[in-house]
Structure formats: C-alpha cells, structure tokens
C-alpha cells in the first residue's frame, strides 16, 4: 500500500487526526479506521483541508455525527462523536 500515514495524537477533547495533504480516498479511509477503533463515548477531532463530503454518509451509517469547530486558517476542523 502506498498511502502516507495521517498524524494521530491524543488530547483532552479526544483523539486528533490530521489528514491534510493526503490523496483521496486516504483521508476518508484513515478517519473511518480511527473512528471504528475508537471506544464507546470517544470523540475524534479531524484536521482537514476541505469539507469531507464523502465522510458524512459513512458516519451516518455507523451512528456517528460531525460538527464543525473552529480551527486554524485554511483548515476544516471537525469533531466526530457517536450520536446520542
């Protein structure tokens, strides 16, 4: 497999993943891999360089939702968490 790896690190508000600069479909795949490995009640914070439109149906399918949160200039930052 030839993809670059996303940077993943833990913080107080959840596990962060930075997929900026990765070619499609790697951002989608690596975010979903992280989400699927996250425990119940976990949150994932995504650092992206664009609105990941293709992500939302996949999240909906597994009962997760996304909300956009403030990020750096040029960044599309999302907080992902299981829907109540």
């Amino acid at each position: 497999m030839s993809e670059g790896a996303a940077r993943v690190w833990p913080e107080g508000d959840g596990t962060h993943i930075d997929v900026r600069g990765l070619p499609a479909p790697q951002p989608l795949v690596q975010i979903l891999q992280l989400v699927r490995s996250a425990g119940a009640g976990a949150a994932v914070v995504v650092h992206h360089d664009r609105d990941p439109q293709l992500l939302y149906p996949e999240l909906a399918q597994i009962g997760w939702g996304a909300e956009r949160i403030a990020g750096e200039p040029g960044e599309w930052r999302l907080r992902l968490a299981p829907l109540a």
Binding site: M1, S2, E3, P23, A24, P25, Q26, L28, V29, L32, Q33, R36, H48, D49, R50, D51, Q53, L54, Y56, P57, E58, L59, A60, Q61, G65, A66, E67, R68, I69, A70, P73, G74, E75, W76, R77, L78, R79, L83
Partner: protein
C-alpha cells in the same frame, strides 16, 4: 458547542461576532448551494448538484432496460449476427453508450473532482451535455435497429459532440490533478481511447452512409478496442483504485504497481489497435492478449490486497458482481486468444462480446453503482441536516436482490444461447435480463424518491 446546522450534515462552529472565522462561516453559508455543497475557504465547488450526475445514472437505467428489449426483439438476428445494422447492434450500443458510458460520465463528473481536488470546469455544460447525449444515443440506437443510416448518423453526430465536450471537461480535471499518478494515467489513456473511439465511429457511420473512409474490418476492430478496452476498460480499472479502497476501508494500492498494470493495459490496447491496420496481426494480437492478461493479473493482485487488508472485506452483492466482472474479463481474454489462434467467429466472436461487455463491464458497473448510488444520495441528502439519512435507509433492497439474480441468470442464459446459437434461449435470456433491468429502474426510482423525501429545501439549508 454547535451553534448552527451547516449544509453538509455538520454543525457550524461557534464564533465571536466580527471575528475572521465568523466572517468566513457567513461567507460560506452565503455561497453554499443547497445541493452538492462546496469546499472550504471559498474554493470552487467540487461536488455537482445531485441532479447532474443522477440524470446520467437515470438514463443509464432506462437504456439498460431498452437494451434487453432490443435484444428480445432481435433474438432471431442475434444468433447469426456479424456486426451489421439491426436490433442486436442497437442493443449493443444501448448497453455501451447508453448504460456504460452514461454511467461513466455521471461517475466521473461526481467523483473525479473530489479525488483530483479539481472542480468541474463548467457545471452548466456538464448538465446541458445530457440533453445532447441522451437523445443522441436514442437516435443512434433507433437508426441501427431500423437500419436507417441517416438517423443513425444524426444520433452519432450528437453523441460524438457530447463526448468531445465531456472529454474536454475530463482533460481539464486530469490536467490539474495532484497525486494519484495511477488513476491519472488510466484517465489519460481512456481519453486517448475516446478520441480513437469517436474517429472509428465516424468512419463506420460514413461506411453506412456510402462514403467509406476506412476499411470496414479495420474500423470495427479499432472501434471495439477503443470502446470496450480503451475508454470503458481503463476507466473501470482507474476508478477501481479510488472506489475499492473506499468500499473496503483500505489503503490505496501501491502507485508503481498501479502504473505497471495501467501500462500493460495501455500496451495491450495499442498493440490491438496496431493489429487492426493489418501489419502482423496475429503476432500483435497475441502480444496484446499477453499484455492484457498481465495488466489484469496485476490489477487483480492489487484489488485482492485492498480486500484482504481493508476493514470491510465483504460488501455483499456489490462485491459478487465486481468479482463476476473481473472473471468476465478473464474469460474475454481467453476467448480473444482462441480467436487469434483460429477459432471460428461463429459463435466465438459473439461469445467474446458477451463476456467482455455483459460479463465484465456491465457486471462490474452494477456492482459499483449499487454501492455508490445510495452513498451519493445520502451525501446529497445530508445538506443542511445534522443527522443525515444513512445510505442503507435510502436503499430499496428488494429490487436490488431481483436485479442481482436476474442479471446473473440472464448472463448465463445469454452465454449458453450464444454458444448454442438458439433463438428461443436468446429470447429467454433477454426476458430475464429485462426483468432485472426493470428491477434496477425500480431501485433507482425508489432511491431518488427517498432522496427527495430526505433532502432539506434550499432555504432551510442556508
């Protein structure tokens, strides 16, 4: 934490009044369309409104049904058919142009901009093209079925013009692509083949109009190679490197191996096209089959790796159909080898066509579409909703199950009917295929109905 619902199934962030983020969010809401969405930071939208790609998928569904009906009407001609005007030729083009290429246009307009991070150069042109392409295909097929060369010629002119415009849109997209050299190579190969396809099509139309530009066998051979293996085959291979990792949640296959597979496939197409000119045709065709087998082997090795390493290794009927498609290509290459080595055209050439067009391309296409269409519908329905409908909630399952069984049964029946040169068996195959095609239309109509029901009106999405 969330302040307002965004337009893509996400909640907008809180931001202090007058801050840069607030201005950016306000600007984004102001320019964002209700359907299709847009991308961050004022970038041009890379997702088309749902109506643009879906109209191509809808046309593909209807043409698919018409193709089986045309075969039903021309079953008696099919068992002796050698490529002349009539309903078998109409059925073939309703599949290739009407179903396969129409779907390829829809998929490329929707997915390539996302993958290549390039917006479609003209959304209006992408939508308007449908009005040229679809009537063109209908006129062309009718002209073939009724053996009316002038009607055929008018349809072909419209189709070639529409494909030329689509080719320009595709070229702009590929030219600006970042990364993905394997996918881009397949895309450029498909575009080059599209030009050869159009040129050979015009030569064949000229022949039917009594103004020969090329030898008939040469034009037919070029047309077959450029259409089935060049344009559609390379698109199927290239898009698989984006779609299969998405479906399986796996890493992208090694780029060098993608390039090797694509290079072998391209070499096979070039060799087969060169053979059409009559210089050492047997040697060139043998080399083409060998290169094609190498390309397929590498491609399957990469697909196997994706499925083996992915978090989702089984995606049901869709994967079965894709596997049937890959097997169909293997059978087509074996039949091509038999034909090069001297097997009689009756019935082996028709069996080769069944394996390549229905076995490979059609099966693979329906495998991909039944996975991707609910996904795209959910994505479009998500606009303006915090909790978008799931793809499975939008999917009418029963018609898909009927289509799956009917498609496989029709495929097997058509292969047997072709080998046995049996008109009644061909009619049964076409009837079963028609049932599957109607089921697909019902699936697509149900999906669109659920999408409309789930979508938020434009005003509410803002």
């Amino acid at each position: 934490m969330a302040a307002a619902t965004g337009a893509a199934g996400v909640s907008e962030p809180p931001a202090p009044r007058g801050s840069g983020v607030a201005k950016e969010a306000t600007a984004r809401r102001a320019v964002r369309p209700a359907q299709g969405g847009s991308f961050a930071l004022g970038a041009k939208g890379r997702l088309l409104p749902a109506s643009v790609p879906m109209r191509y998928f809808g046309a593909a569904a209807v043409f698919h049904a018409l193709a089986w009906l045309a075969l039903l009407g021309g079953a008696a001609d099919w068992v002796q058919w050698r490529g002349g005007l009539g309903w078998p030729l109409a059925a073939l083009h309703l599949v290739t142009l009407g179903t396969l290429l129409s779907s390829a246009i829809g998929a490329s307009l929707q997915l390539l901009p996302v993958a290549t991070r390039q917006p479609v150069r003209s959304q209006r042109l992408a939508g308007v093209l449908w009005w040229l392409y679809v009537p063109g295909v209908a006129a062309l097929a009718l002209g073939m079925g009724l053996a009316q060369p002038h009607l055929l010629g008018a349809g072909a002119a419209a189709v070639v013009a529409a494909l030329a415009a689509w080719g320009v849109l595709l070229a702009f997209n590929l030219r600006g692509a970042r990364g993905m050299p394997g996918v881009v190579l397949h895309g450029w190969g498909a575009l080059a083949a599209l030009m050869l396809l159009a040129a050979s099509a015009l030569a064949l139309v000229a022949l039917w109009l009594g103004r020969p530009l090329l030898d008939r066998d040469m034009a037919r051979a070029l047309h077959l190679v450029a259409g089935v293996f060049g344009t559609m085959g390379l698109l199927a291979f290239g898009l698989a490197y984006i779609l299969l990792p998405m479906f399986a949640l796996a890493g992208v296959p090694d780029e060098r191996r993608q390039l090797a597979s694509g290079g072998a496939a391209l070499a096979a197409i070039v060799l087969a096209a060169a053979a059409a000119f009559g210089v050492a045709p047997v040697a060139l065709r043998l080399a083409a089959v060998a290169a094609g087998a190498l390309g397929l082997g590498l491609h399957l090795y990469l697909m196997h790796g994706v499925l083996k390493t992915g978090m989702r290794s089984d995606f049901g009927r869709a994967l079965v159909l894709m596997r049937v498609g890959w097997a169909g290509l293997g059978v087509a290459l074996a039949l091509a080898l038999a034909l090069v080595l001297g097997a009689p055209e009756d019935p082996w050439a028709r069996l080769f066509g069944v394996a390549a067009v229905a076995g490979w391309l059609l099966s693979f296409l329906f495998g991909v579409l039944q996975r991707i269409l609910p996904f795209l519908a959910s994505m479009h329905a998500a606009q303006g909703q915090k909790r978008p409908p799931t793809p499975s909630a939008l999917t009418p399952e029963r018609p898909l199950a009927v289509h799956f069984l009917s498609h496989l049964a029709a495929l097997a029946l058509l292969a047997v009917a072709t080998a046995a040169q049996s008109t009644p068996l061909t009619q049964i195959a076409a009837l079963v295929g028609s049932i599957g095609a109607v089921a697909w239309v019902v699936f697509f109509a149900g999906l669109m109905r659920r999408l409309r029901g789930a979508a938020v009106p434009e005003a509410a999405a803002r």
